[in-house]
């Protein structure tokens, strides 16, 4: 975090020189929106950019549902000394430029106190650029390893989501001893895929894995058939399939057609609930993957049961999805810390978040000191065939407990 402090002291110094006045350089920084936001006594405003339109609209809508639940909970408990929370949902259209613009508008026009949200890694980095520049707390609920690195981190940035290092790590630790060491990777050719591939390479050696090939497919490809014959020719034990949403459904369906499932085990770093529902039981049969959350955790985790019940009661019996659940936890953890701090003051809330130990929906979690990554459990699930009801899509086969050793070290990330 050293470089951030350095940067700020530089700005302060410039300001000092310019004004010629020595006193209170920090408060004199040109950040009127922060001043307005902390001084007011009206509702506490939380900006929530998410891709309401575009490829991940299904997940984004579930994020909003869950986030609104956290807001409702906070307000029903009396808010912060009577001050209610208002959630300002904005469509980032899955586009970094849109995301940055929405974040800027939220801060400058709507005077939000905090920002939570975003689904795509690239949009998240764009939003983070804005929030750290403006000194606004941002709780990200999007998967990315990049954002933890010293170059993108700031003291205002908190990441509630799991990340590729954690999920791919948990997956190979589970899969390699069970299904074999020879692995072929078919990976989506964008940030999410690249980060997971890096994680796969990082964890390969400790588990004795042999990576036969890493084949990259274009993001949003409709047809994966050109990739399967060559993968089958390699005769791997495992196909590590890393893509997301519609890409995952398409590639799984086509892998099934090509008989890939009969020849090797297919493992997926993020096996989304919504994708599995859209893809159907037959095609996903036997696919193993990781998820930050699956509702069935309620059998062993009390907070999961509480969250599910609340979600179902509010939304006509609907079960929360994995990404939706992160929307809840992202807003909830922030609001809990606001209440703990007794103020919306940025620095006080940051300290509260850093010290916070919580269990909102999936067991114990906390933010690691150096990069504010939420250390949390990762759930390994297998797609099931016999469904008791439409939401009954996975069996939980493993839960990896929170463990800092499963993250990249602070040194690796450049936090001295």
């Amino acid at each position: 975090m050293k470089h951030i402090e350095k940067k700020q002291s530089k700005i302060s110094r410039r300001k000092l020189l310019a004004s010629g006045a020595g006193a209170a350089a920090l408060t004199a920084l040109p950040m009127p929106w922060v001043a307005r936001a902390t001084a007011d006594t009206g509702p506490i405003k939380v900006g929530f950019p998410t891709p309401l339109t575009g490829l991940f609209a299904t997940e984004a809508r579930d994020q909003v549902r869950a986030a609104e639940l956290a807001v409702m909970e906070f307000n029903e408990a009396g808010g912060l000394d009577g001050r209610p929370v208002e959630l300002l949902v904005r469509d980032d259209k899955l586009d970094p430029g849109e995301g940055a613009t929405r974040a800027l508008e939220l801060i400058e026009n709507d005077n939000v106190h905090f920002i939570v949200g975003v689904l795509s890694a690239a949009v998240q980095l764009a939003v983070n650029n804005i929030t750290r520049e403006r000194g606004v707390i941002y709780v990200s609920i999007s998967q990315s390893d990049k954002i933890s690195e010293a170059s993108d981190h700031s003291r205002f940035t908190f990441r509630e989501a799991v990340n590729p290092t954690m999920q791919t790590g948990a997956l190979v630790r589970h899969a390699i001893p069970r299904y074999g060491t020879r692995v072929a990777a078919l990976v989506s050719d964008y940030a999410y895929g690249h980060e997971n591939l890096a994680a796969l390479q990082k964890w390969a050696e400790p588990v004795g894995m042999e990576l036969l090939a890493d084949i990259r497919h274009p993001f949003g490809a409709a047809d994966y058939s050109p990739f399967f014959p060559q993968i089958q020719a390699l005769r791997p034990d495992i196909l590590y399939l890393c893509n997301f949403g519609g890409d995952l459904v398409n590639s799984i369906k086509q892998a099934r057609d090509f008989g890939v499932m009969d020849q090797m085990k297919v493992i997926v770093p993020t096996l989304l609930y919504t994708s599995r529902v859209a893809g159907g039981a037959e095609d996903f049969e036997g696919v193993v993957g990781c998820t930050p959350y699956y509702w069935q955790l309620e059998e062993t985790v009390e907070s999961a049961k509480r969250f599910n019940d609340m979600f179902k009661a509010e939304y006509d019996g609907r079960y929360p999805s994995d990404y939706g659940a992160m929307g809840y936890s992202g807003v909830r953890v922030l609001l809990d810390c606001v209440r703990e701090a007794g103020t919306t003051d940025t620095d006080t809330v940051i300290e509260a978040l850093r010290a916070h130990r919580y269990d909102n929906y999936k067991g114990p979690q906390y933010f690691r000191d150096c990069d504010h990554q939420s250390v949390q459990s990762v759930v390994v699930v297998e797609s099931k065939v016999e469904e008791a009801h439409p939401a009954d899509v996975f069996n939980i086969i493993d839960v990896e407990a929170p463990n800092e050793d499963h993250l990249r070290s602070c040194e690796e990330l450049g936090h001295a």
Binding site: H217, S225, P226, Q230, A233, G246, D257, F258, E282
Partner: protein
Amino acid sequence: MGISFELLALQFATGLALGSIFVLVGLGLSLIFGMLHVVNFAHGSFFLVGAYVGVYLYSLTGNFWLSLVGVPIWVGIIGMVVERVLIRPLYGRHIDYTLILTFGLSWIMLETIRIMFGFEGIPFRPPAELRGAVDIGVGFMPRYRLFLIVLTLVIILALWLFLEKTSYGLIIRAGARDPEILGVLGFNIRRIWLLVFGMGTAMAGIAGYLAGPIQEVRPEMGIPVLAQAFVVTVVGGMGSLVGSVVAGFLVGVVVAMTAIFVPHMAQVSMFVVMAVVLLLRPQGLFGRKGALG
């Protein structure tokens, strides 16, 4: 990694299957352009509607084959309504008018599907008899993809017979050459255009339905299809049906072969093909010069 003959041959067959969908969407687009001089930007949305109509019919009948017959009929009817109500008033104006109209229409169709069927994808699988893979001598190929190639060839043959061997086909071909003379001879050219637009959209619809078991049936599935259909028609030559068939299969095979050697360039390769064709033969492989004029 050694590249064996078997792998290349299998990849070639995979490319043909991939190309089948390209051929069907390209043919529909080309048919409409060649006869009506309408650049149908809603083509991807008719593809989408085909998939959803198919899934809906399937949910009613539980029969893949009945739906296969029903989809082109229903999508063709929707296409004809669009032609009659929206496109017909614009005949005689510059080509941009229908282009903008169909562009807007494509988004309305997409949103309508979202409102009616939701944002989530819908599971859809090949019929039981077409699941699994069969040994084609060089390796295992999914049954459904083989079926796709065969069915596409059948549709091409049927279309060819219709256009070349029936009196209706003769009138349509004459109408494409010189609509005015045809009018003078007492034929109702508008009715012919209506029929042609219906046929073109029906082909897009059937392509969407056939793509359903391979892809996820979701509201956004038609978006990349429009670009692919345009690549096929531009490579083949705007308005040339033979061109669409050749270019569709060609593009499919190029994408599949590229995937072996530079996988992440597979999708881009079709645009490279298009760029090369445009540089060497701007009118396309089988196109006439000045087709857009």
